[in-house]
């Protein structure tokens, strides 16, 4: 016992950093300046609050008889989400393998393909919807195409990063037994990445169900169209009904999907 408690040094005080304060002041200044510059006004935001309450009261009394009209549209929405999740994820699966640097070692190929992916990912889903409505016309096909591209973007990003984190050991072993590239993918890579893929596809499905309810707003099919119609005609009781069924369906799908993903990762 060479050092007793008394011999130990006291924990030194952390050094006071002047720069931290400078940054805080700069940020507050920036906030004030941008509020002034864009003429943001909080009182204005709350000015129409009484009207909000009125609409909310109406929505809180949903028109139950409207359910018969709303549910078929909701089913269409879910169909759109399923089709686009399946197509988008499958495309993403192949693409992710091509841009994962531990699978494809050619930096030029991965670089170019990643650049393309990043461009696709920057387009928001509503904009995609508008583009496809313009191309294929109003209807669920436009919505499906928009969601397919959107799914692709979500799954590719998550999935290729998951592929790049796998244990390289099994691949080394497959190489050592004399296996080729395809053997490596089937025996060493696939078992490690498949759970991630299914998990991300389910996650994309959750997002798609939510996103597809909005897409109808711009004419891309699904329940969003009814949402817009009822709002335009001030039928807030019907709007309330739509919101209620959408809420329930999203809740159930999210719950099931979350549980499924937890089970997969075991």
């Amino acid at each position: 016992m060479s050092a007793t408690d008394r011999d130990m040094l006291k924990l030194p005080k952390k050094k006071f950093k002047m720069w931290n304060w400078v940054w805080v002041i700069l940020m507050i200044l920036g906030l004030v300046l941008s509020v002034n510059n864009t003429q943001t006004s909080l009182p204005e935001f709350f000015a129409n609050f009484d009207q909000f309450a009125e609409i909310f009261v109406q929505m809180a009394q949903p028109d139950w008889s409207y359910a018969g009209t709303a549910i078929p549209y909701l089913v269409e929405t879910i169909k759109m989400a399923i089709i686009s999740t399946v197509i988008g994820s499958l495309l993403a699966f192949v693409y992710s393998l091509l841009i994962a640097r531990n699978i494809v070692h050619n930096r030029v190929i991965t670089g170019v393909l990643r650049f393309i992916m990043n461009i696709i990912r920057t387009i928001p889903d509503l904009l995609l919807g508008s583009i496809f409505v313009a191309i294929v016309g109003i209807g669920p096909v436009a919505g499906i195409l928009a969601l397919t591209v959107f799914t692709f973007g979500v799954v590719v990003k998550l999935f290729y990063e998951a592929i790049e984190t796998i244990d390289p050991g099994p691949s080394e072993a497959i190489k050592a037994v004399g296996g080729n590239g395809m053997n490596n993918i089937m025996f060493a890579v696939m078992p490690q990445i498949l759970p991630y893929f299914i998990s991300y596809a389910l996650y994309a499905f959750e997002i798609n169900v939510r996103a597809s309810t909005i897409l109808g707003y711009i004419g891309a099919g699904g329940i969003g169209l009814q949402l817009k119609n009822t709002l335009d005609m001030f039928n807030y009781n019907q709007t309330g009904m739509i919101i209620l069924v959408v809420f329930l369906v999203v809740l159930v799908i999210d719950f099931v999907s979350t549980k499924a993903r937890e089970a997969l990762m075991r």
């Binding site: 072993a173 050592a176 037994v177 078992p191």
Partner: protein, 256 residues
């Protein structure tokens, strides 16, 4: 006339892309049926030496012959067929943790099949039986349908040995096979390697940290320091001072 060596390294030099010298002018002959242990400090080049033999690492200069045939010059399918003759055991086992033990062991047969057959999992009953028999000889038969990550480290290494046995290679490279195991399981794993060496006449080249295990199982010792072979001799003729030299970074040598 001496018999043809199983492994022959001629003036082998390996320089990594960042300029680090991994191997310096290595000349080495290993005959069929030998049990060779390579000893040396971490970073001395033991792993690089082993991985050069089956070309998991490419060498910069020189040539490596496996059973008289150059693996350095082999390409594509030819290279894969040569690797089929060389099994490998890894420090971290390198099993696919989410796959079953059977599937991991069957992977040893991959290079015996056309790719499309293995892609659809069309292994013959004979090979499945072979895999099961390999598991029996390392005492892991009852785990055949377990998932690899349910096994302990020692059990995983024995599955890896079963994989090598199923591969039926002529050479086995073992890269620190016991470094992540406790002393008791280490000994079991070494016994398994000994079994492959004696029963199946496979040539074993093993990197070992443990001098004790090296002395007990090796027939021949190769000492490696800073990418060079500094000792090569029969185990029974090797005095303790050789090990002391190798592990003391050459300090002992200067005193000699």
């Amino acid at each position: 006339m001496a018999e043809q060596p199983m492994i022959e390294m001629k003036n082998v030099t390996k320089v990594y892309d960042n300029g680090t010298v991994g191997l310096k002018n290595i000349n080495l002959k290993i005959n069929k049926g030998e049990f060779v242990v390579i000893v040396g400090l971490s970073g001395a080049g033991k792993s690089t030496l082993l991985r050069a033999i089956n070309r998991l690492h490419d060498i910069s200069e020189g040539d490596i012959l496996i059973d008289g045939e150059s693996i350095t010059k082999a390409k594509g399918k030819n290279l894969r067929l040569m690797r089929r003759k060389i099994g490998m055991i890894f420090q971290s086992f390198n099993l696919v943790k989410r796959s079953s033990v059977l599937r991991n062991v069957l992977a040893g047969r991959l290079a015996y099949y056309p790719t499309w057959k293995t892609t659809f999992n069309l292994f013959t009953d004979k090979d499945k039986q072979r895999a099961y028999e390999a598991l029996q000889s390392v005492g892991m038969a009852e785990k055949v349908y377990s998932r690899a990550d349910e096994l302990s480290g020692g059990q995983q290494q024995r599955v890896a040995i079963a994989r090598v046995l199923t591969q039926r290679p002529e050479i086995i490279l073992a890269d620190e096979p016991t470094a992540s195991l406790d002393p008791k399981t280490s000994r079991q794993v070494m016994e398994d390697l000994k079994m492959l060496n004696e029963k199946y006449d496979m040539t074993v080249v093993a990197n070992l940290h443990s001098i004790e295990l090296a002395k007990e199982f090796g027939h021949r010792v190769i000492g490696v320091r800073a990418g060079e072979i500094v000792y090569d001799g029969k185990m029974e003729d090797t005095p303790q001072s050789v090990f002391d030299n190798i592990y003391n970074g050459g300090k002992g040598k200067e005193e000699d």
